[in-house]
């Protein structure tokens, strides 16, 4: 498949936006403005960008605490995400969610889930509703390598396969759980791909740092889902540039390994590819400048925004907008 240049530029733009956004989040954490925690996807942007580009309006993204990129690239406004990270009134969840729970239902970003594995059956359920209602939506569910060992993974994969649900399960295999390497806790080589046959599925492996490859793989899996042929389980090999969360220096990783992967930075690789494909360097510079400006703007706007109204504390437990449990 030949990917056209506008699409390629767009893939580049989205990766850069994600990169700058998360670098800023990290800086704000270090500055003490972002409380709580963050789990950055720095280095894993190609997975988010490739899938977001392949998805359509109406498709649904389910992701994890490491979900800033996925939510942003489905179209959630950057300032509202920044606001949520900083616990400000402009936060996309009114400050109630925080970094681990970014959600923008209007864009199909159906939530970031912070208990490992739980969102796999939820994503399958959304796909089931699409099947029952006869829409042509697909549901895409992102999770990590470590997630393949929890029960919910198994239950979700099995039922999705048996019911031929239009859901794409995407394992972002970044080789580590929090601090423990995935290789220490599985008896197979590929945590996701080697489990696919247990559900009658093909084990699909993709270079998660090659955004073109991710994009093409995503298109194929989404088309299969829409054809009613059932779920896919895709293992995207990737690596996080930083630690698991917050200020984790990730010392548990061999430096040779880190170096090797840093050379395979998906953004650097793609920049080189685009230049080799005769894209003007100025166009790329401009994309970068625009992305930086967007991040700066979101940061300024958010910093100038007050904390959420405390009245919000007691709203939205129930659909009536409130939290009353008694009459």
């Amino acid at each position: 498949m030949e990917i056209d240049t506008p699409t390629r530029l767009s893939l580049y733009r989205e990766m850069v936006r994600a990169r700058y956004f998360e670098q800023r989040a990290y800086d704000l954490f270090i500055e003490g403005l972002l409380k709580g925690t963050t789990h950055l996807g720095l280095g894993q942007e190609a997975v988010a960008a490739g899938f977001a580009a392949a998805m359509r309006e109406g498709d649904m993204t389910y992701c994890t605490y490491r979900g800033h990129n996925h939510t942003l690239l489905r179209g959630a406004p950057m300032d509202a995400l920044m606001g949520e990270l900083l616990g400000r009134a402009n936060g996309i969840c009114g400050g109630k969610g925080g970094s681990m729970h970014l959600t923008d239902v209007t864009k199909g970003a159906m939530g970031s889930y912070a208990i490992v594995g739980a969102h796999l059956p939820i994503a399958a359920g959304a796909a089931w509703a699409a099947q029952v209602r006869g829409t042509d939506q697909a549901s895409v569910c992102f999770f990590g390598d470590g997630t393949t060992n929890i029960g919910a993974f198994h239950e979700a994969l099995n039922i999705a396969a048996v019911w031929s649900l239009p859901v794409v399960f995407v394992c972002e295999n970044n080789l580590y759980m929090e601090y423990t390497p995935i290789g220490d806790v599985i008896a197979v080589e590929h945590p996701a791909a080697d489990r696919a046959p247990a559900y009658g599925l093909e084990g699909i492996i993709v270079d998660g740092n090659d955004v073109d490859a991710v994009y093409e793989t995503a298109l194929r899996a989404l088309a299969r889902a829409r054809r009613g042929e059932g779920p896919s389980l895709i293992e995207a090999k990737t690596y996080r540039h930083g630690g698991h969360s917050r200020a984790d220096p990730a010392k548990y990783r061999p430096s040779a390994e880190v170096e090797e992967w840093m050379k395979r930075d998906p953004i650097v690789l793609y920049r080189d590819r685009l230049l080799a494909l005769a894209v003007e360097v100025g166009d790329l510079d401009q994309i970068e400048a625009e992305a930086l400006a967007e991040v700066d703007h979101a940061t300024e706007l958010t910093k100038a925004t007050p904390p959420p109204d405390v009245a919000g504390l007691m709203t939205e437990v129930w659909a009536d907008g409130g939290s009353a449990w008694r009459n």
């Binding site: 969840c93 729970h101 739980a118 399958a124 509703a129 979700a156 939205e316």
Partner: protein, 324 residues
């Protein structure tokens, strides 16, 4: 007006809502072809077809996770957990996901779903198939909790639960399945969060839920003969909680007894007791007494199980001793 069993009332309530709203679907283990292991879903597959009534693998996290996802995408699903004890196998989905998602997304996500489950002891099934777990659900912000005691309430409250835009855990008591009661004809829709005074009285208030309700009524009858006038309240739902009816009754009687099937520690009676003891402190004529199963797992042998769960006799004796 027809006489229906509590068991058949479940199917009637489900059918009423499935007929009315095609977004209502039902999944669970053996709910379709077999009509449910308690036969509470008999006939629904035949009537509504395999897309809307579907058997699942033994995967409780998938059942509850799938209804959550489906509720996010336009359905109003009902999931059955065969026994309420199995809530424990999907407790993360129920408590951390279903209950919290609306709040954590500041209202972006609406979850109109119902988890139905067979609850309670008395069937000699032993410790892993007999628990009364309404208190577990009550402790989780974001869950509504319903436990009907009669066939008519089953139909009306199940309909209300299905129509409710929030997640509801609906406890069906397995010892009540065979009991019969009058159910009005036509569409029946009740209201969550409304307790019912089933018997008026002046001396003491007896608050009960599910299978403890018929027992409380029988005890009230026996106590009447002993000269104690008992008001019996069926709470029907724990969340929302009808404190108005409760406090109104205790204001009148000045004495409260709760009858709980769950093990003693932090049963729902403790919450009721703490509310009434705080808000009607100056009205109470004597201590609130909680009648509960002791704080033990349920044993299987009939003599032991009967002794564990509050009985009519135990209710009568406790009330007589404390309020006689």
């Amino acid at each position: 007006m027809a006489e229906l069993t509590y068991r058949d009332a479940v199917a009637r309530g489900l059918a009423q809502e499935m007929e009315r709203d095609e977004r209502v679907v039902l999944i669970g283990e053996d709910v379709a072809k077999a009509g449910g292991v308690f036969k509470t879903t008999a006939g629904l597959l035949e009537r509504f077809g395999p897309t809307r009534v579907r058997d699942t693998p033994i995967s409780e996290e998938a059942i509850t996770g799938m209804i959550m996802g489906a509720a996010m995408n336009g359905l109003r699903p009902v999931g059955e957990l065969m026994f309420s004890d199995f809530l424990a196998t999907c407790w993360d989905i129920v408590t951390n996901q279903i209950a919290k998602t609306r709040y954590m997304t500041n209202g972006q996500v609406e979850l109109p779903l119902v988890i139905r489950t067979a609850n309670g002891g008395g069937a000699r099934f032993g410790g892993q198939h007999s628990q009364s777990l309404e208190n577990w659900a009550m402790a989780v912000p974001g869950l509504k909790v319903v436990a009907p005691s009669s066939p008519a309430d089953v139909v009306g409250l199940l309909a209300a639960a299905i129509r409710d835009p929030d997640p509801v855990v609906f406890f069906e008591h397995k010892m009540l399945f065979p009991i019969k009661g009058e159910v009005p004809d036509g569409e029946l829709v009740d209201e969550l969060g409304t307790a019912r005074v089933l018997r008026e009285g002046n001396d003491v208030t007896l608050v009960a839920l599910a299978r403890m309700v018929p027992m409380a009524l029988e005890a009230a009858e026996a106590l009447a003969a002993a000269g104690i006038s008992v008001e019996v309240i069926d709470l029907r739902s724990l969340v929302p909680l009808d404190t108005r009816t409760l406090l109104g009754s205790v204001t009148k009687t000045s004495r409260l007894f709760t009858v709980e099937e769950n093990p003693r520690l932090i049963g729902w009676g403790a919450e009721i007791s703490s509310i009434v003891a705080e808000e009607l402190f100056w009205d109470l004529d004597g201590p609130i007494v909680r009648i509960t199963t002791p704080h033990i797992p349920l044993p299987a042998a009939d003599e032991l199980e009967d002794l564990a769960i509050p009985s009519v006799q135990r209710i009568v004796e406790t009330v007589r001793r404390s309020a006689g």
